[in-house]
């Protein structure tokens, strides 16, 4: 088997951990050899370096989901619980900070090779921002679609520190006529001639002063699986643009014609990126900015609560590429809505915590909903979108409880 790099045979560790977790969930221990088709049947792992307990979607290349209860524990997602998603298995297992370099080349006056020391000496930028996979919540699409069967845990919020991409591009001197930058990381395909992962951003976006080359995440260096030592941060845009182990920036004088921008990660150019299953012939555009979402974090589907007793709810919301203007909560399946109290504002691109006390529910089934409106007036839809890639879910989610 061509692994492309060192392959220690320690995979069993993950499965032993997974099996233990399954046992705790009363799951048949034979399930590891069978199919797992229910997205709620999580298999947990603690086998990944610099990571705590995560939902194992795939070992190689890693797809690790944040268990949902983590989102109830604070507005920032701890680095060791932050989700992980790689396209190719050729991931370096060693990064030497003394020899690592970031190259800037292409349509520039002065090609650069920057060491980490040079980057650390440049002016810095800091903000909180949500990093969310394009396919977050894909496992909830109906009809179901192919791809990583994430529930809501392919997202996280962190405080990022780094250098504005603009400053690095200015240092290289972008030539007139540049139209885009393409970012590449150290990861490589494991088979010959396959398309190495890279994503491009329009040159004006790349130079907006906010897009960041981050070297810190929540006050620490990034975990290797989250992109150590450098990661592009594109606030308000989906994670596919947040290139990990960023090592190469090419300034392009023509549109990016490579697979990952030209063909992959495209959405229907329709409201909510939504089409009818089986529909064809619609225009497509590269996925881009995120849209508002909100989640109840302190109660899960199936929870039992006391009838007639006020229900204390809390959760998270984010506005996509805008701040959170308001969060409304319904405890009656969307018939009536009350306004939640917003907690501390950590910035436009951050998660925002909220809390709400719902009137005591009558005995029976209770359908809770939270709905975010962002500062541009965009509100979460009540009907789920659908597209063949399972991208951009942002329907108002429903948590169903039983009051007794």
């Amino acid at each position: 088997m061509d692994q492309g790099h060192r392959v220690p045979m320690i995979g069993r560790r993950g499965f032993i951990a997974g099996a233990a977790a399954l046992g705790a969930l009363q799951h048949p221990t034979g399930a590891l050899g069978a199919l797992v088709r229910n997205v709620d049947e999580a298999v947990f792992t603690t086998a990944f370096p610099q990571k705590g307990r995560m939902i194992l979607q795939r070992t190689r290349p890693p797809l690790l989901e944040t268990p949902f209860e983590v989102f109830d524990q604070g507005v920032f997602t701890p680095n060791d619980r932050f989700f992980v998603r790689w396209h190719w298995a050729g991931i370096p297992e060693q990064v030497d900070v003394a020899t690592f370099t970031l190259k800037v080349h292409g349509h520039v006056d002065r090609p650069l090779t920057l060491g980490l020391g040079e980057l650390l000496a440049m002016p810095r930028l800091e903000y909180a921002a949500v990093n969310q996979c394009s396919g977050n919540s894909r496992g909830l699409f109906s009809p179901r679609v192919a791809g990583a069967q994430w529930r809501h845990g392919a997202m996280g919020n962190a405080r990022w520190v780094g250098v504005p991409l603009k400053a690095v591009l200015d240092r290289a001197g972008v030539k007139a006529g540049a139209v885009a930058i393409r970012a590449r990381g150290l990861d490589e395909p494991v088979v010959p001639d396959a398309p190495a992962f890279g994503k491009s951003l329009a040159i004006d976006h790349a130079r907006d002063g906010e897009v960041m080359i981050a070297f810190q995440m929540n006050g620490e260096q990034l975990p290797l699986l989250n992109g150590f030592p450098l990661r592009l941060v594109v606030p308000g845009w989906y994670s596919t643009y947040w290139v990990k182990m960023l090592s190469d920036i090419e300034v392009l004088a023509a549109a990016d014609d490579q697979y990952w921008t030209k063909t992959a990660y495209r959405i229907p150019d329709t409201p909510h990126a939504s089409v009818t299953p089986g529909e064809t012939g619609y225009a497509q555009v590269p996925i881009n900015r995120m849209v508002p979402r909100s989640f109840i974090t302190n109660l899960a589907d199936g929870a039992r609560v006391a009838a007639g007793k006020p229900l204390a709810l809390r959760g998270l919301a984010f506005g996509g590429d805008q701040g959170v203007a308001r969060v409304e909560v319904s405890a009656d399946g969307g018939t009536t809505w009350g306004r939640a109290q917003l907690e501390r504002d950590e910035g436009r691109y951050s998660f925002r915590q909220w809390r709400f006390t719902a009137p005591g529910p009558a005995a029976g089934s209770v359908r809770l909903m939270a709905r975010c409106t962002n500062t541009a007036g965009e509100v979460q839809p009540l009907v789920a979108n659908w597209n063949p890639n399972g991208f951009m879910r942002n329907v108002v989610e429903t948590t169903t409880l039983t009051a007794a």
Binding site: M1, V7, G11, F15, P62, G117, A194, F215
Partner: protein, 117 residues
């Protein structure tokens, strides 16, 4: 060398001779890079887990022989049921787009396996 190791080395050098201390301080630090504000980046070495899980079943030889080069089995086994045409489309994408080195003779068996799970 860990940061503590370096500090110990510098301390030990300091006890020796001043000249040796200067030399030790000037030596390239291969472990950390520090910038203004006390930001320090430290070299990292990890072992990424590898999966030894195989696709189950008596008809799994073709998928096990071809598909595990690029990815472990878990994500595939978590997919919802799809019609044969959808699996054919996915397998074709693996070959055409992602250059999966799949033996042409194994393609029908791979699609059959995936469609029948």
């Amino acid at each position: 060398m860990t940061r503590i190791g370096i500090l110990l080395a510098i301390a030990a050098a300091g006890l020796a001779t001043p000249a040796f201390t200067a030399s030790a301080l000037a030596a390239p630090d291969t472990t950390t890079v520090t910038g203004p504000g006390g930001v320090t980046l430290r070299s990292v070495t990890v072992d990424l887990p590898q999966s030894d899980r195989e696709f189950p079943g008596a008809d799994a030889a073709a998928v096990n022989n071809n598909c595990l080069t690029c990815h472990s089995a878990g994500m595939v086994l978590r997919q919802p049921p799809f019609r044969r045409e959808k699996w054919a489309e996915i397998v074709n994408k693996m070959i055409q787009t992602y250059k999966a080195p799949i033996d042409a003779g194994d393609i029908p068996a791979i699609i059959d396996y995936l469609a029948q799970r």
